[in-house]
């Protein structure tokens, strides 16, 4: 299956969802997760993940902290906040509604 383009505006939603389900992660792990969960169908343009993370952080939906990993590397770990969870819920709902609508139109056509 060909690699799909990344649906506009869905990256923040995916990041939040992953963080909500798997707990605190660093940026690289989030990249892997997205690729893995979408059966490799979606691939993140790796660089674009970080500005997105920072924007989410700015909005207060995730929070970040520097930690030291097992092999003594400094890594930035992201975690979803309470506000982030609420936002995720709303966004998920909205996403479903709008994709369902798009689907319906596609089927009609």
């Amino acid at each position: 299956m060909a690699k799909a383009i990344f649906p506009q505006g869905s990256l923040p939603l995916l990041v939040l969802k992953i963080l909500a389900q798997t707990g605190p992660q660093h940026g690289y792990a989030i990249t892997l997760k997205i690729e893995h969960l979408s059966d490799e169908a979606l691939s993140v343009e790796e660089g674009s993940l970080y500005p997105a993370l920072h924007r989410l952080e700015e909005a207060g939906w995730i929070q970040a902290e520097w930690t030291v990993t097992g092999n003594k590397r400094r890594a930035r770990i992201y975690e979803i906040t309470e506000a982030g969870r609420r936002h995720l819920q709303e966004e998920e709902q909205r996403w479903r509604t709008s994709t369902a609508a798009v689907d319906r139109i596609l089927r009609l056509a």
Binding site: H26, Y28, E46, G47, S48, P51, R74, R76
Partner: protein
Amino acid sequence: MSWLTKLRNVFRKDQLDRDLEDELRFHAEQRAADLGLTPTEAQRRLGHTARILEESRDVKLARWLETVLQDLRLAFRIWRKRPLVAVTAILTIALGAGMNVAVFRVIWNVMLKPLPYAEPGRLVQIWVEEKEPRTPPENVLIEKWQHGSLTFSSFAAYRPWSITIISQGNPEQVFTGMVSQGFFETLGTPLLAGRGFNQTEMSSGADNAILLREGYWRRRFGGDPAIVGSEIEADGTLCRVIGIVPDSFLATPLIQVARGGSTALRGARAEPDAFMPRSRARVGGMRLPTHTSFLIGRLKPGIPASQAANELATIAGPGERRRIWLSPLEEEVGYQLRPALLALIAATGCVLLIACANLANLMLAQVLLRRRELAVRAALGAGMSRVMRQLITEAMALSLAGGAAGLLVSQLLYSVILGLYPDTIPRTANTAPDWIIYLFALSITILTGLLFGVLPAWRAAREAKDESLRVGNPWMSRGSRRWSNAMVALQVGLTTVVLIAAGLLVRTFLTLRDIDIGIDRDHILTASIDLPATRYKTRDDRARFGRAWLERLAAIPGVTSAGISNSLPLRYTMLLDLRIFIPGSEQEQMVGGRAVGGDYFKALGMRWAAGGPFDPNIKGQVAVNEAFVRKFLKGRQPIGFQLPQGKSSMLITGVIKDVRHRGLREAPQPELYLSYDSFPLNPVDTVVRSSLPPARIVDSMRRELKALDDQVVLARPLAMEEVVDGELARPLFQVVLLGLFAAVALALAAIGTYGVIAYSVRSRTPELGLRRALGASTLDIQQLILASGCKAPMLGLAAGLLLGWLVMGRFLEAMLYGVTARDPKVLVFTAITLAATSLLACLLPGRAAARIDPGTALRQE
């Protein structure tokens, strides 16, 4: 990310970039490890690092700045719609911040600004006793130290003095610093022109040399550079001007100890206009081993003061009983002023806090009116923290505007403070504010904005959340009201403390004003004459002058009595140090001697406790004061007592009532009064009693003096009343300023209390109307408002009284006289004043509440 972190990020851009880079590098390395790529390939997969960095950085910085600007624009729009609130707030902040900035500016100049000397940290002033007044060491001791000390690199000794300089036939008395060799070198002050004194000039009798101060040189000699190297007539001889001392040279810490504080130097200049070798300075033309000089030492690098003090004590020898102590020169500037300044800044700090409490309440009421708007904005996605930040930005905008206006207030108050102080406050002449003053103003403004902005923002966020879109009453909730009452209690408490301090200072001032100084204040004129040692060489020369002068004074029409002395009460005190031997005690005792001639006692209105004046024609007759009797002649009959002195003895003919010679608050010291004929000392201080206007007497005195000797000057003619007022000027300065600050505090607290209660009455209109409708009387309503309104102020008052009771003593002790820090009168007065003010603040809204018309009130619901 918190608000603060973001602020920090703006200033720590590099750190931020490093963090971002770290994060990306981590990603690339992990990727390389997982897929077995080379680092470059992994890096390429990541994309354009610089672009990512840029994007992320923008997210963090630009967004923040942008929202701040947005908030500021919004704040401006909001305050333009409520100009009255905005103006009130700005004025309050201007007042509070301005007061703090003005007082801080004085403190900065006096206490914090580095001294204009090289490495001032190594300079110490050396004292031989800790008690007030500070005692400088004797010249003999100084010589020992100069020869023996290894911990000091050099010493600078000086004595304040007064000489006569004659130029173009005009004699003028000039305040002069008599300095030791290496004086300017020790302090590290380069001269404007010429050089300091050399060895031969320092030793007396040889080449006469003088240094002039820049300002005096410009004023008197038109700044003529040819003056350096030429000769002028000073102190009775021709002296070569060897150099010019720059005006920036600060002699103030050197002369602040010149006794008499304010009055000593009144009429004289606060900074010496000339400098001469110390060897010329002789009390009454005599050089005695007991004579002292002020001493500054420069410590060798790395030597702690305690070690140096130990060394000085060792050199002084076991015979030295007094404690030798070193005080950093930096702490000596205006040391008498420091307690007052600290009290003033504490008071202005309290006023600012009170102002903040007022504003917090004002803003709280304002902001809660916008609760709906805020709730809507929060619901539309702004987020609660964003709304709070908006409110704090609004407060900050007000605060900055107020701070700018506060700079004007501070400029005004600063000149008022300088004008109120009796002398020149050290280091305040012609100085534009330092950048640090502006920094202080900015920080205090930001602090103010935060202090009064945070509470309303937080409460508004809370209430907007609680009642988000519920339609309801526009008034604040119970929780907010509790906070608002807490603010009232806080400001009343702070006002209580300030009021107590002001009250204590008022009591101190009144005590000092009414103190019995042992002399009359009215109809007495004083002046000083300096006899140049070169022309009045012998005792006989000076005694002859004294007799002739007294004769001429007595002949002036309208003069009832006249006297002379080497030292008048509350003027610059230069006593003759006498060693006496009291029978029955082991040791020789030191006692201050005053040589008086003419009708000295009568002219000053001094009173006799026993006996009477001595006969100047009989050698060896003396009078003593009560303090002398108390200290040395316990229980013995003083009149007729023979005091052995050296080979001869002195006969006490009378005991005079104590006179506060050294200052209003200083206990009288034992003193001996001797005949001026036998101890003709210099200067010749003159006292004249007359009911004629002082100006006329001074004219006559000047004429007579000119006829007697046209090369001496009648210096510093002052009415005794002025001299005493000069002594009161310092306590008056403290009282006026602290009183002013206390009045501002009281006014702010009253307004604050009134505002909160009036608000509460308005918010309870329907309830009160219902009560009225159900039959409550106007009195009931008033009582209800009073009971609920007075609770917070009373709580604050109680807390303030308790705080005053606990801390005031430690804080104000140095400034109080004749009153304890827990003076019941002051506490009761404070309590009554504040209780009455709070009551009044409750009563007015209470009356409004009682007038509520039940019908209208209920319809409003």
